[in-house]
Each structure stands twice: as C-alpha cells, then as structure tokens.
Amino acid sequence: MKFVGTSVKRVDGVKKVTGSLKYVDDIKLSKMLYVAVKRSPHPHAKILSINFEKALAIKGVKDIITGDLFTKRGGLYLEDKNFLAVGKVRYRGEAVVAVCAISEEIAQSALEFIDIEYEVLPAVTNAKDAMKPDSPLVHPDLGEYKWAPVFFPVPGTNISNHYTLRKGDAKKAFETADFVVENDFYVPHVQHVPIETHTAIAQMDADGFMTVWASCQSPYAVRQALSEAFDLPLNRLRVLSPAVGGGFGSKAGTTLEGILIPFAKKFPDHPVKLTYSRQDEFENAYVRQGLHARIKTGVNKDGKIIAVENEFIWDGGAYNEYGVNIAKAAGYASAGPYDIENVYTDSYCVYTNHPVGGPYRGFGMSEIHFGIEQNLDMVAEQIGIDPVEIRRINGMKPGGVTGTGEVVEVAGLMECLDIAVEEIKFYEKSESTSPTKVRGKGIACGWKAPSMPTNAASSAIIKLNEDGTAHLLVSAQDIGQGSDTVMTQIAAEVLSISPEKITIRTGDTDQTPYEWQTVASRITYSAGRAVFEAANDAMNQLLELAQIKIGLSKRDLELRDGYVVSKIYPDRKVAISELALGLTFEDGSGIHGPIIGRGAFIPPNVRNADKKTGLGEHPVVFWTYGAQGIEVEVDLETGAVKILKVVSVFDVGKVMNPQLLEGQMEGAIAQGIGTALFEELMLKDGKVLNPSFVDYKIPTADDMPEMVIKFVENPEDTGPFGARGVAEPAMVPTAPAIANAIYAATGIRLNTMPLTAERVLNAIKAKNND
C-alpha cells in the first residue's frame, strides 16, 4: 500500500503550527453579545426566588434568563438535565441564571447584582451513601424521566442505572475455588483538562435559521440535542465545529450550547458567545466519575480463574445522562480481558451532589482496570505464580469467551503481553544508584470496546474534481487524534491519488454528512470504513465509465496514480480527471455526470445483550487488547514515584499512520501517568477545592519517562484495511501497571488513586511499623 500504513504528515499541520487555524474562541463576528452565568453556591438547594431586576438595569445588559423559561429536560441516554437549573440545584456550580450583555466584562459584573434565595437541602457527596435507603434524593422524579431502554434506573433511589451481568454460577464456583481474593479500590474524580476550554457561539438569522459554532466532538449530537430541547427543526439548525483544542470526551454530547439559544432567538443577527474560564472547566465541564470498586476473584491452584464477582459504584454526580452508559460499559468489560466461566457483576451509576460525570478517555476502563489488574497480581502472589503467568493462563485468546458470553475470533492479547514483558525486561532486576530508592517493574493488561449504541452510524462523501483532485466530506472531528489525516489516507489509498490531492472538510451539519459522535475510539474504524466505502463507490463509477472509454472490461481495470489503467495492457489508460464530470463522447454527447462517491456504515450485527443476564452473542463491535510494562523508582524517604520506562503494546488491527499512532499512545501514557500519580479533583462537601492549574497539576515535559511503543496487527474484518480503535484503550493499563510496579519495588499495595508521594510514604511507614 502506498499511503495507508505510512507516516503521512498531518494535513492540518501547517494551519496549526502557524496559529492560523480558527478555533471557536478565535472567531470574530460583528454585533457579538456575550454571556456570563450565575452559578449555584450550594451542592443541593431549592431555588426559592430569583431577583435580577438590578442586573437587568445595568447599561449594556441585554437580557437575563432563568431555567423556568425552558423546562424541557434533555440528555443523551437519560433525559435528566436542563441547561439552566429548574426548581433546584443539584451541584455546586450548576448554572442558574444567564446574563447576556454587550461585553464580557459587563456580563460578568452584572452577576453580582442578581439575588437568588435558596433553601439549602441535605446533600449527598458520597456515592455509597447515596445508595442507602435514607439518602436524600438528587432526582426525586426519576420515575417520570425518559431513558433509552438499555438502561435501568431505579426510581425512588439515586440509582440512575443498575447494570447486571450474570454468567454461569459464580456463587457456586467460589465455593469450589482453592483461593478467593477480595479487595476494595477507589478511583477519584479527575478532569479532562483540554487546553482549550469549552466555548460556543449561537446566532439566529432574521428568518429563524440558527447557526451554532461549538468546540465540540460531535456536531450532529449537538444538533440533535438542541433540536429536541428548543423544538428547532433539523433543517433550520446548523452546528459547526471548526476545530477542537482537545476533547478526551469532555466535548462529547452537548454541554454549554443550550444556554445560548434563548438569547440568540431573542436577538436575531447577533452572535451570542459563552466561553468557559479555566475554573469553569474544572467545575462545570464533565468530570471523570469517581469509582468505588469491590473485586472478588476465585482461582484454582493451577492458576485458572473460575469466578469473579464485581461491584462497581460510580459517583455520577448531579446528572447522569451520559454516565449511565459508563456504568454499562464497565459492566460489559468487568471480567477484564480474561476468559472466565463465571462472572457476577453489578455496576451502579449513582446520583450525588457532585460535578457532572461524563465520558473521559477510556470510558470507565481505566478506573475498573486499576482494581482488576491489581487484584490479579494479588491472586497470582497468593498461589505462587508470577504476574505474567496468571495472565498467560487466563488471558483472552482467539476462540475464548468474554464476560458477556461472546466468542471472540480475534484477540492479540498474548502477543501484546509477550512483547511488553520482553521490552520491559520484566524478569531482570534493576537497581537504583541511590541507597534510598528502590526500583520495580509492573505489568498490566487492558481491553476496551467502543461504548456506543449498537447502530451508531458514519457516512462520507467524495467529490471528484475535473483536475483529478478530490474533496472528502465527513463529520468525524479531528480533535487532535489525527483523523483528518487518516481519513485522507484511506481515500487516497483507494483512489490511488496522493493525499495532497485531497481536501478534507469536516464538522458542519449543513455541508458534511452524518457522523454519530467522535468518541469511543470509533473514528478510524467506523468513519474510516465509510470513507473506504465512499472511495470505492467513486472508483466503481470511474471504472464503469472507463470500460466504455477504453473498451476493456471493468474487472480488468484498476486505479493507478490518477488514471484508470488496464491491469493487462498498462498503456491503455484514461486519466480520472477526464472522467470526473462524466464521460464525453466524440460526438459531444455525455453520460453519467460528476463522480460523487457515497459511503455509509453501521457496524454489522451488533445486538443488545439480554436485559437481565447481560449476556449476548455480539453486544459490542470489537475488543481492543493491549498490555503495558512499566518500571518505577520509589524514593523511600519521600514516597515520590518516578516512572522510568513505559512499554505500551496494543493490537490495533492495522497501523494506519505509524507516527500519528505513536503520538496517540504517548499521549495516553501521559494521561495515564498523571491520573495514576497526582491528578485528583479534590471535592469537599460538593466543592471543588482545586479548580486551577496551580492546584490541579497535569504532567509536564519533565514528568515523562522513556516510552517504547509497539504494535500487533491482527486485522479487524469489518474495519478499513483491518483497523480497529485504540486511542482510549492505550491509557487503560497505565495506572495499574504503575501500582503493580510500586508493589514490586516496595511491597506496598495501594488501592486508592492517585498514588501520591504522601500516600506511598504513609504506606511505607505503616509497613515498616508492622
């Protein structure tokens, strides 16, 4: 292959290095109005009255709105959310009143002249407490809400989704197990921290047509949500996402856009803008949900795991419209990438008066694997085999059966594990040069499936130009992962023209075709397949015309370097530029017209699992497997953990662009290290204590270790050129591999993230005192 599998340079590279790419906050429009939001100071309170007369009287303030104007609830999977609070507030920071003014400064300054009277309600700020029968209810009317039928809210409680998986007879198997190891783990809330905060602009034309520019991963999902919430027909609502300065899930679904629509409606021809401050981003954008996990593993002396029982309690925060699916995805994956006969899992998404949980790279997998992979090491130690061996015995192999009862045909886990073990030199002891520091190596596996509706669709259009160049239209969003480049490569490969001859356009619901969402590590796979289909469609049209022109059968023709060429007589060819607008005969007549390739794709045969048992033949499109080996050095005097080396190996099906793929893997490691070692959204009584970069640190260049990135390529049959998704899975094993390495170095086992120096030091001291 010429283009697929090679390190084609980013097609968006020049615009990004020159600073000329316009992100939403860079868009300057005339007559702009600005919005500021008054937020709740209470985690849970009834709104008694709102008085904004004084604020409205300020010069430059155009209008002020409250949630009472728009009481229709919305949400991706469970309709539990309003853009502005209605009746009560459910987390500290919830948007209550929005001010629209002629400048940002005036809008901001008007906020302090708004008086809101609250009746404070008892708050619940721990997901386990929230499940108790006497807990305050965050959503007392849950039973009246609408939700997708694959979720199971429990009205009258704080449980927004109770997922169950019942495979085999775990209870019975535990009775016969030689050893049972059971542990609790806790993973706190973290923030996505895209460098670009959320921002959006809305503008309505005089004829009622609404345009929204949003820094969002999924313009079609935003369009759908806004259409429902504000009764705007889809053909009168255009959502554009010109560029996204980092997403990681935080800009999935819809976030702040709805706050702008009422103002845009009221002030036609005025663009209305809202940009989150960094503090807003920490407090009011989605957060990664906290997780209380209990994992119980039953194993026989020979190392074969015969049963697992899991309880996952997700702290979903005030609104769970998206979080319910994280609980479900975690349930599907709860056995880990292991072939285990008996699995018993309860995964609960629970309302609390915390910031709103939502999709974060990994979609629950990083969180559950922190427990799964540590528990596995403890099991191995219990029966006296090493961490690699227990994974070799139980790890998924082709023909194996997943936790949800699906037989898998492709599973490159063992190859990944072997490479990780070899590259990290797992069996070679490494010594620190310092007498007060110790080193250790840890290993962890991971898996993830795209967590999306079974029928999530993609589409693509390719328009051929009369000079032999082409336009590729998709709504897969390049949020940094490089999809613009990979989509271009796929089209270039099929059409046999160089990537420079293809211009890709994305992110415009009026101009680019449907894409469900840029999430779930599904874009290379799903949008890529749609592009593949579109290019093939264009190719077929070209071959049809060429066979008339050349007088050779279509099956003997192929595309080669901008020509349709005979496979047998290479000198008989016609330029695709000549056919781009159709075929013209010598008498001047023509047929067919312009070549436009159309591609559409839904992953085939993905069906809902059984509602009660969670079992299903093919409930997810594919699983991506991988393993990481990590070496750490622990300072025994300070507890500080330094990551020395990370080896990351994944079965990606097909490496589409080695350089960009490496970048995805390296970025995932960075996020994995940050969340493992020091990132935590500190919450006290519902308040975020560290909403700034001073107090919430993310990894810097100084924190990064040596990284070795390797790939395995067992093709995914339905993916373009065999590709499957990997951007999220890549960070899944990092935290547990670090925890396992710390154990190898020090003998201390840490069940709570992050693995801060303080926590490590306390554990070392406690161990020394034993």
């Binding site: 000329s20 960094r278 350089q659 100084d702």
Partner: protein, 156 residues
C-alpha cells in the same frame, strides 16, 4: 481609561489606543486579530499564550497591554517570513509534535526563545525549557524531538 502605545509587532511599528485594564493577550487577539496565541487559563500557568517580547518568552495573559509600549513583540504569526515556515514549525510538522494544536503556537514560541538564548540545549534543558507549557495530547516526546532536530541543525 485608555493609553496610546507604540511598539513593534512582527516587524512592523504599530500604535494602539488601548484600555488600561486590557491584557497584552487580549490586545493582540482582539485589537490586532492575531489569534495564534490562546488563552488556556488566564493565569500564566499553561503557556498557551506565549509570545516573545524583547527576545524573551512571555505569558501574554499576565501582562497589561500598556506595558508593551516601546517593546518588540513577535507572535506565532510573525515566524513565517516571506511565506517560509520557521524551521521549528517545519520540525513540529515533520515530527508530528502536535495534535489538537491549541498549545502549539505557545510551545513553538517558547522553543524559539529558548533556542535563541541557548542554541545547543541538551534534552533535559529542552524538557525544562518547555515545562511551563502544558500539552494534554502528545506526551511531549515528539515535541522534545522536534525541538532537538532544530537544535541539532544549529550545531551544523
């Protein structure tokens, strides 16, 4: 209150009657429509707004615009000379040292100032030099490599 200031912006002498409260970042972005420098935090913690003032990398969000009076300022837009990308820009593309691109202008400006001050940095000096610029996408490895390539060209 507004003040009339004069300074050199990307090689051109310019004037601006600027609000005394306006930050340098805001002036550059809104009064001069140079939007390459980004506001990532508004508190000098992320480096997305980095520009070069009198040869030094500076967080433009932390400085008032009036302080620009009499200075010489280069923004990311000023790195392209006669249509030619700066070697750092070329290297960032060649080494895939960018993903979402939001930190990229600031990162390149920091690297640019660093290489002027220290044309032959070690890998550790590069790491340290860009440690005030946050990137959430790349894991920094390819950024360090991209800068190293240009530093090595300096040696030649």
């Amino acid at each position: 209150m507004k003040t009339l200031i004069e300074f050199t912006l990307n090689g051109e002498v310019v004037e601006c009657l600027v609000d005394n409260q306006r930050t340098l970042l805001k002036m550059i972005r809104e009064d001069f429509d140079l939007t390459g420098a980004k506001e990532g935090c508004g508190a000098g913690e992320c480096g997305a707004c980095t520009i070069i003032v009198n040869g030094k990398a500076l967080n433009a969000c932390l400085v008032l615009a009036v302080e620009a009076d009499g200075t010489e300022i280069t923004t990311i837009e000023g790195l392209v000379v006669d249509g030619e990308l700066d070697p750092l820009q070329v290297s960032f593309i060649d080494n895939a040292a960018l993903q979402c691109g939001y930190c990229t202008p600031g990162m390149i400006m920091t690297a640019k100032a660093m290489l002027v001050e220290n044309p032959h940095p070690t890998e550790n000096e590069i790491r340290e030099g860009i440690s005030g610029n946050l990137c959430r996408c790349t894991g920094y490895k390819k950024i360090i490599e991209a800068i190293q390539v240009v530093a090595d060209q300096n040696k030649a």
